[in-house]
């Protein structure tokens, strides 16, 4: 009785008015089309000139409140499962579901993917239309089968497939056991962040970096990584000293960036600065970087030197939990929900929502 599939049919078949109810539901199957992949093209075909499924009174709609049928067109990933479940729950009873395509049936092309959900686990499916993709005739057959189901009250398969043994058809004597290929997983053991000096033709840059190194006087090591790109490697303790010296030429921070290097147990904090005031320095981007341990992610804020770093430092606090000392706004989250902790750290566990039928939905 709790099965929504049976409940819908029972409602249509009960009471004195059941012929009217059945007739109305049968000839007015308005479909909200949930286009998740290429089957959507076939659905467009089905309703366009040539096939014209509107002959049977079905009309495809973009919204769920006014409709009574979902046509799931293709693959349902874990992310789309939420959308499918929400769409289904927002529709008024009695409602029906048709699933198109091999992906919705058994996963199809993506059968061993980590991110695939079968629609039948999320919503009660009335009919599957197999095929990759199914033809417009196939989808129309599904709709007509649903009409018959509404009228008679029992679901019948419209086609039965004979299992075919390839060995017999192709007359193969020896059958090699075939295994499906494993999904390719490429994990680098120890990925490196390689930033090295490069020899490029940039005369101004060479003299500029020489000047810069003299000016820094050992506080940091500057080198050219590309045309118009300069990299300065320094430490957390001497970072403010370097920033102070650079602020004579460079007047604003373009971006603040944190890289999580989890296998070396460190964060790399990068400030990219540039200039609007000096004409020859305008195209030049200088990146200042320093490493901090993951266990104590605290870093001196440059907000006194470059006020434009304010928002970007707060962003990095939201995403990585790096605490920028002296930034007055530190501690309050402004980009993400306050209960989410450091989502861009590599060891962040993505919460897995459960939209399986019968389970509790959000």
């Amino acid at each position: 009785m709790n099965d929504p599939n049976i409940k819908n049919i029972k409602f249509l078949h009960s009471g004195l008015l059941s012929p009217v109810k059945k007739w109305g539901a049968k000839w007015s199957l308005w479909a909200v089309h949930l286009v998740t992949s290429c089957c959507g093209v076939e659905l467009a075909h089905t309703y366009a000139s040539g096939y014209d499924a509107e002959r049977w009174g079905t009309l495809n709609f973009g919204m769920m409140r006014q409709t009574n049928l979902i046509i799931v067109e293709g693959t349902i990933s874990k992310k789309m499962a939420k959308a499918l479940r929400m769409t289904w729950e927002q529709m008024p009873d009695p409602k029906f579901v048709i699933v198109m395509g091999a992906c919705g049936l058994e996963g199809g092309l993506f059968w061993n993917s980590y991110h695939i959900v079968k629609p039948s686990e999320i919503v009660p499916v009335d009919y599957f239309v197999p095929g990759c993709p199914p033809t417009p005739e196939g989808l129309m057959r599904g709709i007509l089968a649903l009409q018959k189901k509404i009228e008679s009250g029992e679901a019948k398969a419209t086609a039965k497939y004979q299992p075919v043994r390839l060995e017999e058809v192709l007359e193969i004597k020896e059958v090699k056991e075939r295994k499906p290929p494993k999904s390719p997983v490429k994990i680098a053991e120890k990925p490196e962040i390689k930033i090295e000096p490069r020899d490029v033709e940039w005369e101004f840059g060479k003299s500029f970096v020489d000047e810069l190194n003299q000016k820094l006087a050992g506080a940091g090591e500057a080198f050219i990584t590309d045309v118009n790109r300069v990299y300065i490697r320094t430490t957390k303790e001497r970072f403010l000293e370097v920033a102070e010296k650079l602020s004579e030429d460079f007047d604003h921070v373009k971006s603040v960036n944190v890289i999580d290097v989890i296998h070396e147990d460190k964060f790399i904090v990068e400030y990219t600065v540039s200039s609007y005031s000096s004409k020859e320095l305008m195209p030049v981007l200088v990146t200042i970087s320093a490493e901090i341990p993951r266990s104590n992610p605290r870093f001196p804020s440059v907000i006194d030197i470059w006020p434009s770093a304010d928002y970007q430092e707060r962003e990095m606090y939201d995403f990585f939990g790096v605490w920028f000392e002296n930034n007055p706004a530190m501690g309050e989250k402004f980009l993400i929900a306050p209960e989410v902790e450091t989502p861009l750290r590599k060891d962040f566990k993505i919460p897995q929502p459960n939209y399986v039928l019968g389970g509790e939905s959000e």
């Binding site: 008015l17 009217v20 109305g24 014209d52 509107e54 002959r55 049977w56 006014q66 927002q90 008024p92």
Partner: protein
């Protein structure tokens, strides 16, 4: 006492329809003719039935109930929703709704949709303002049906007043307020966007529309529909003041959200605008609102510009003859408006509002000037 007074009041003012209320010549034999009793007289002495029949055929009630009132509106709705889908299908080289009743081209498709809506769950979502959310679709019938009181169809009319056209325009102008209230009661962002679009469109067309109607009232020298139609017996208003007709025509398309001005309930942008949260039979009710408004405005358009109920008099229809001419004119206009869906795209909101406030308003002033000229020259 009261019963008899009412009965005699009804009987004094009955609709004159020969084939229903007159004696019918059944057959003639030699010099003597045998007449059949008309429907009203058959039950003349049956206590309750004669009262009901007299009430139905009483002129004002007949106008409200049958033509141009409720039954005519239902007829328009039943046909036009099917015809809209069918015309769109024909233009796109399709069949449209067919299999539900193959011999008659699927004309009962709206009925099937209506039955499906009737037995579907009505969802009132948690955020909605529950009383208003359920009330407004029903309240919306007031401004839709009240203009029928002052819009006459030949001899079938409810109220005759020299202010008929202004009153009808004023009542029709109340419909967008109900739509805006519907969007507000839905308390959803798409409904809110739809209502805001309705507000913008409302101000864009309403002023021009009122000025165009008033231009014709000035030109005819009266707001009484009888005077207006009688003055058009030779030349219809569309030839006298084509600017006013154009403005009224475009404003009607904007007012009823027809293409190319289907902006408030653009289903591919804001998923039906104010009506997005409605389900079941309540959606069926609010969906028909635009068509009813279209019918009322088409009645006004045909009275003001197309000679109203002027047309060849058919003797055996009696009072119904002019009413049917008016209905046919209005229905053809409704079909033309609905046909726009198949051939036009949709304007952006800013384009439509700019058109309303600039060219449409300017044209309406021109039409007012023409109307004043005609009135002062005394051509009518």
């Amino acid at each position: 006492m009261c019963y008899n007074e009412l009965l005699s009041m009804f009987r004094e003012n009955l609709v004159h329809i020969p084939f229903l209320t007159d004696k019918i010549l059944l057959f003639q034999y030699g010099g003597s003719a045998v007449y059949g009793n008309p429907l009203v007289n058959v039950f003349a002495n049956v206590p309750i039935l004669n009262f009901i029949l007299a009430a139905i055929f009483w002129r004002p009630l007949f106008a409200m109930l049958f033509i141009p009132g409720l039954v005519a509106i239902m007829l328009v709705l039943g046909i036009i929703i099917w015809l809209e889908r069918k015309m769109t299908a024909k233009v796109q080289w399709r069949y449209g709704p067919l299999e539900v009743s193959r011999p008659i081209g699927g004309i009962i498709q709206p009925l099937a949709d209506g039955m499906r809506y009737l037995f579907q769950e009505v969802i009132v979502h948690g955020e909605a303002h529950r009383p208003y959310f359920l009330q407004f679709p029903l309240i919306s019938f007031l401004p839709v049906l009240l203009p029928i009181l002052v819009i006459p169809a030949g001899a079938i009319y409810a109220i005759r007043t020299p202010y008929a056209i202004p009153i009808a325009i004023a009542l029709v102008a109340l419909i967008p307020i109900v739509l805006i209230a519907i969007g507000w009661a839905s308390n959803s962002k798409y409904a809110y966007i739809g209502s805001m679009r309705e507000v913008f469109m409302y101000f864009a067309y309403e002023i021009a529309m009122i000025i165009a109607a008033m231009a014709m009232v000035v030109a005819y020298g009266s707001g009484d529909a009888f005077v207006i139609v009688q003055k058009q017996s030779l030349i219809p208003g569309i030839l006298i003041n084509p600017f006013a007709c154009l403005v009224f025509f475009v404003a009607t398309a904007m007012a009823t959200a027809r293409f190319p001005f289907e902006i408030p309930d653009a289903d591919s942008e804001v998923v039906f605008g104010p009506f997005v949260e409605y389900t079941g039979i309540i959606f069926g009710v609010v969906m028909t609102l635009a068509y009813e408004k279209l019918y009322i405005l088409s009645l006004l358009l045909s009275i003001l510009f197309l000679g109203g109920w002027n047309g060849p008099y058919i003797v055996w229809l009696g009072d119904l003859s002019p009413a049917i001419w008016l209905f046919i004119k209005a229905f053809v206009l409704v079909v033309i408006f609905v046909f726009f869906r198949t051939v036009y795209g949709r304007y952006r909101l800013d384009q439509a509002v700019r058109a309303g406030w600039s060219s449409l308003l300017a044209l309406s002033f021109v039409s007012l000037g023409v109307g004043v000229c005609i009135a002062s020259a005394g051509w009518f």
